[in-house]
Symmetry: none
Subunit: 208 residues, 4 copies
């Protein structure tokens, strides 16, 4: 008896959420232009005007999804930093944990990941940003004496981003590897390389 007019309270929110989710999936699967508003609403079983009831435009939903990806990502960054604060872990462990977190994130946010990392026009900038952050960490570690000091960490950081990206697509999303397995392998390569006789390489391999 309380609410009159609004049929059920949160029905609208539900429609909006549904549309957003479907939009994410469609964009992720077919790309921006290949995805038609008509496709989205068809799958959501609503009509086109309903879509515009909740979103200003096609571009707007897409941007909302980009933002959503970015905010989830930075949330992840914060969380990771937090529990890394314990600092009891060794460097390889810390790096591995960070990678794991990122990869798990991609596992759980596939559509959003595709949008923010592959489809978004600003995906390039985002990756650069991430690379820069990674670079900082690597630099810190280098200064702490863990790495060759004379190596260009910007290259390493960008390379790492590229590895993550490609392995996400080819191994994670295909279900061939789990986030943890992948993280372990990436750490192994990046820290010790493929070459035999490289001290420590066995260590990490065994550990994780």
């Amino acid at each position: 008896m309380a609410q009159r007019g609004r049929k059920k309270g949160s029905d609208g929110e539900a429609s909006r959420a549904l549309l957003l989710k479907i939009a994410a999936d469609e964009f992720a699967e077919n790309g921006y232009h290949e995805t038609k508003i008509s496709d989205i609403v068809k799958k959501a079983e609503v009509t086109q005007p309903t879509f515009y009831l909740y979103f200003k435009s096609k571009r707007a939903v897409f941007e909302e999804l980009e933002d959503l990806f970015r905010s989830k990502l930075s949330e992840l960054a914060n969380d990771t930093r937090l529990d890394t604060g314990i600092d009891e872990e060794s460097l390889p462990e810390r790096i591995g944990d960070g990678l794991s977190a990122i990869l798990r994130f991609f596992t759980q946010n596939r559509s959003l990941g595709r949008i923010g990392f592959f489809l978004s026009p600003s995906a390039g900038q985002l990756k650069e940003q991430i690379a820069r952050k990674i670079e900082e960490n690597l630099l810190a570690a280098a200064n702490a004496g863990y790495f060759h000091v004379n190596f260009d960490m910007s290259i390493a950081a960008n390379g790492l981003v590229g590895m993550i990206e490609q392995l996400t697509v080819s191994k994670l999303w295909t279900g061939q590897r789990s986030a943890d397995e992948l993280a372990k392998d990436i750490v192994s390569i990046v820290l010790y390389g493929l070459k035999k006789d490289c001290a420590g390489s066995e260590a990490i391999t065994d550990k994780l």
Copy 2:
């Protein structure tokens, strides 16, 4: 005696080549859908029907460019294999040379590279293919005793592809690094890792 003004307006092959080149650049810069035939012909200073004189459709030019990229790439693969036949080089050198060749190729074929590696719907498959080829090589090297045998070379290969991709975009195409510099650094990471105290890492760094 020399041709005056507009090359006689009568070299069809040239018109076609011009259109193809402009198309490549436009696609690379703006993506498939953002690129309008009208943009292409405007830049080529011809009219729309002229475009259709040389290409069956918009999709057709795009596919021609995809094919062109792929054929140039496989040509590169063949060439590289050939002069690697000398075999006087050490493994790191050979890997470095291969990487250099690839990166130089991307330097020289920026638009085509964007199309074939980023814009093409089959870019994913192509990368997988390349990864598979790299994997074979790594496997051979591993069997020859150069690498840890128990490491998953499929991961390494895909990771390498990802590194190349990302570094091409962020370092090569921005002009921050040359193909050779980049190749050297990638080899260094992939073979010896970032960790200090890893035998050989200095060696390669000095050498290249």
Copy 3:
């Protein structure tokens, strides 16, 4: 309380019907290629997208009209057969009634008739089909002893179809003759010919 002005602009079925009707008239008058979608929608006072709201393509409307013609025609065939079942009528009367029905049909479905009988690429086949059906009837009558048995009824049937066609255009659609008058005359020719002294010719002429 009555609807004001433009029927509310909100009866889709009506819009569709209107477009279909106008399309029929335009096609009939100007042929397939001379008829532009832009003409149709202009006459219907809607915009082009509205057309595509109701029809998949230009070719599709045309085909719908072809189908419509054919189904109306076969409906006519069924109806005619039914009330001829009474069988109290003489042969000439039955033939005359059938012809009348066909000609009335053409009078009432001029545009559709032009489309199905003249414009449709399959008009030829349709006429052949009709001729075959007429032939069957004539054959039956011949076997019942009404006609010369040795006459080629396939010729007669096709000739009859041709007469109907030409007379529809030249006499019916110009308003010079009514369906019934025409039917009477056609029967007279086909059954008794033009030659004087042919028994029965007066009979039918008087009767109808």
Copy 4:
């Protein structure tokens, strides 16, 4: 040594004639709009400008073919009238001869026939014209006492035109009947009808 410049004298004329013939066949087979200049020149193994060397426009060739049909037809009319002047023949024979001539004409001028009788926008008028001429003849015969005087010869004439048209398409051009066979059957129907017991019908059937 005589002609210089013109490579061979009549080469141009030959090209023109070839183009015209091919155009006729293409129009006849596919209709006006479905026939593209590019199709015609491809079949003629010349280029598009060559077409325009001989014809002002697409519409112009078509009109030339319409005219050609009409002039051949009126030539036929004249010829027929001439040798009918012998006048020794009976009426049915004369009519049969006339029909034969027309049908033979259509046999030999299929493409032109399709164009002038089916494709031409003025085909309707042409048929009316022919019908009018036939009507005159029938009227004359009627006045001479051969036919029922009270029958509407305009109907008969148009009916006859329709029969000719349909039988040409369905029997003549399919090769099922010869011009002479068809002429005989048409005369039989038009003069004596299908009904049995009609004096004279056997006569003609036997005769032709």
